[in-house]
């Protein structure tokens, strides 16, 4: 096992990784920008190194600084968390060259899955169901029309290098295809410096369901059930649950085994998530995230596994310590992302936390790096904590979630806690009847309230 792990991230996920290391007896190095000198994980780490000024490009994305921090501390592995350098193939490559372990898959797997077109081709090759669409990039208007006709309207035009909803356009019929193509190309160029786009079937009311997979890079891989992350605002997940209220056991087993088999064949190493749109019983591959997800705790709650510990074990060369038969799903779990944002307008609300009381008791987990007196810096995303609640069934989980949210006190800043309390009053949420558009519609309809 590793002696000392450098945590190349910040916020709640840095603390999450630190906890796993500590529980495995591994020393920790926290790297941080000048804005994060007082962060919880920095205070708790065995060592810390300031790597740059507040802008992430000069600190958390600064590869030379992070490698230098490994050198001066003697860290033998880096855990990248999520975001930042977690899916940067070059970073994984450089660490390898410096003989520092990267807690994640191989640079090659990161690269393949980081390219939307190659990812889709690979998925199809591995037997993972993909959404019907162009096999590769589409550039001309004539080609776009031809592909769209084959795929069937409505279609979606997406930037090949994209993410976060930028460079995405829907064409409901052939009249709209020319404008949609041009707009998508222009946006893609502006946002990613690359106007390559592709076309696929547009799904009207899909759910976002993702399969957690785990491999050891030695040909063993398992699936750890799915997460339903359909409740999104501007393509940002807000609420995640496991298992999905929409799937039955047979569907779960089928898509899960397909994904696990694919990962075994790929010799994938570590944690990964294969994201799907799900509509009318069919799964359509969106992308694969080659890292830990924000919402991994709901999977931990229903499986009893510690995914970060498993990541560290596998990265250190161990084989998977369990087989598919060892995995059973217990009860139901929901995660709410607590953001420092106005719950109505979603305007970020950085500032000092003057009062804090986090919920406790049976079935309640809080992952958060904030503390009384902590100032949330304005430079990074607004996620300040995650409330994860587990119950024996979905109903108990919902009741417990309401109870826990009612105990949560964060003073001095706005948070999204009131939004979740409102969601818990909605029959659709209680019944698990929602798709990826539900939340946007709800917010639009209730904007005045």
């Amino acid at each position: 096992m590793f002696e000392k792990v450098l945590i190349a991230n910040r916020g709640e996920i840095a603390l999450r990784v630190l906890r796993a290391c500590r529980e495995l007896g591994i020393q920790t190095v926290a790297v941080h920008s000048t804005a994060d000198a007082t962060a919880m994980h920095v205070r708790l780490a065995d060592e810390s190194v300031c790597i740059g000024p507040p802008p992430a490009s000069e600190s958390y994305l600064n590869i030379p600084a992070i490698v230098a921090a490994c050198e001066i501390t003697g860290a033998d592995a880096v855990h990248p968390g999520y975001g930042f350098l977690s899916e940067n193939a070059r970073f994984a490559q450089i660490l390898e060259e410096h003989e520092i372990a990267f807690v994640g898959p191989s640079a090659e797997h990161i690269r393949i899955m980081g390219d939307k077109i190659e990812a889709k081709q690979t998925a199809r090759k591995l037997g993972i169901p993909v959404v019907p669409g162009s096999d590769g990039g589409v550039s001309g208007h004539a080609e776009a029309r031809k592909v769209a006709r084959e795929v069937g309207y409505p279609v979606l035009i997406k930037a090949a290098a994209g993410g976060g909803g930028r460079g995405m356009k829907v064409a409901l019929n052939e009249d709209e295809i020319d404008t949609a193509l041009s707009t998508a190309q222009t946006e893609a160029k502006a946002a990613f410096g690359d106007d390559a786009v592709y076309i696929e079937r547009y799904l009207a009311k899909p759910r976002h369901i993702e399969i957690q997979v785990f491999g050891d890079g030695q040909g063993n891989a398992v699936y750890l059930g799915e997460r339903d992350c359909s409740l999104q605002r501007r393509h940002q997940k807000v609420w995640e649950e496991a298992l999905s209220p929409a799937l039955n056991a047979a569907q779960r087993k089928q898509i899960g085994e397909t994904c696990a088999q694919a990962m075994a064949e790929l010799k994938y190493s570590g944690a990964g998530t294969i994201e799907f749109l799900y509509e009318d019983g069919e799964f359509f591959f969106i992308e694969m995230n080659t890292r830990l997800q924000v919402e991994h705790p709901v999977t931990e709650a229903i499986t009893g596994l510690d995914l970060v510990q498993e990541q560290l074990r596998v990265a250190a060369g161990a084989k998977l310590g369990f087989t598919q038969d060892d995995i059973t799903f217990h009860g139901h779990a929901i995660e709410c992302r607590i953001n420092a944002e106005n719950p109505q307008t979603f305007v970020p609300s950085p500032g000092r936390v003057v009062g804090l009381h986090q919920p406790g008791g049976l079935g309640v987990r809080v992952d958060s790096g904030i503390y009384t007196g902590y100032s949330i810096p304005p430079y990074y995303d607004s996620l300040i904590g995650k409330l994860i609640v587990h119950g024996r069934d979905r109903n108990e989980c919902l009741m417990r979630l309401r109870r826990a949210l009612g105990e949560y006190v964060i003073e001095g800043i706005d948070t999204t806690i009131p939004l979740f309390l409102r969601l818990l009053e909605q029959p659709d949420i209680i019944d698990g009847e929602y798709d990826i558009h539900w939340l946007e519609k709800f917010l639009k309809n209730n904007a005045a309230a």
Binding site: Q27, V29, T34, A37, T38, M40, V42, R43, L44, D46, E47, S48, V49, C50, I51, G52, P53, S59, P64, A65, V67, A68, A69, E71, I72, T73, G74, H98, R352, V354, Y371, T372, G373, Y374
Partner: protein
Amino acid sequence: MGKDSKTFDHEQIRILAEILADTGLTEIEVEQDGLKIRVAREVTVSYAPAPQHIVASPAPAAAAPAPEAPAAAAPAGNAAGTVKSPMVGTAYFSPSPGSAPFVQLGSQVKAGQTIMIIEAMKTMNQIPAPHAGTVKQILVSNGEPVEFDQPLMIIE
């Protein structure tokens, strides 16, 4: 103030500070005979989870004490002539082991002159003097790991 400022009783301030700590107050103000003393403390900072129970590692690379360094070295760090590290790495005083150092205490330096090397990722990065002056203080040791923004030297 009326009275000679040398009669300022620092001991009184220390006593008030002690009372502040003992009682958990955040502010005390006393005014008498034209003398006014106010002591205050921010309480919320102390609520931060100090890693009191965590045994820090024996700092093999001297990076562990770093979090406190900025605070301890604050006066130096804030001084006008302070040169701070632009990167993470290992500081070296001379171009190669055994050769003469770039500068010493008391050296006169010109703006742009190399005063130190910081090694990061096997690359030797020359650190130039940001301004001309005399080397008044050297705040790191040869071969010491340095963080971003860590004060290296004072040139005045």
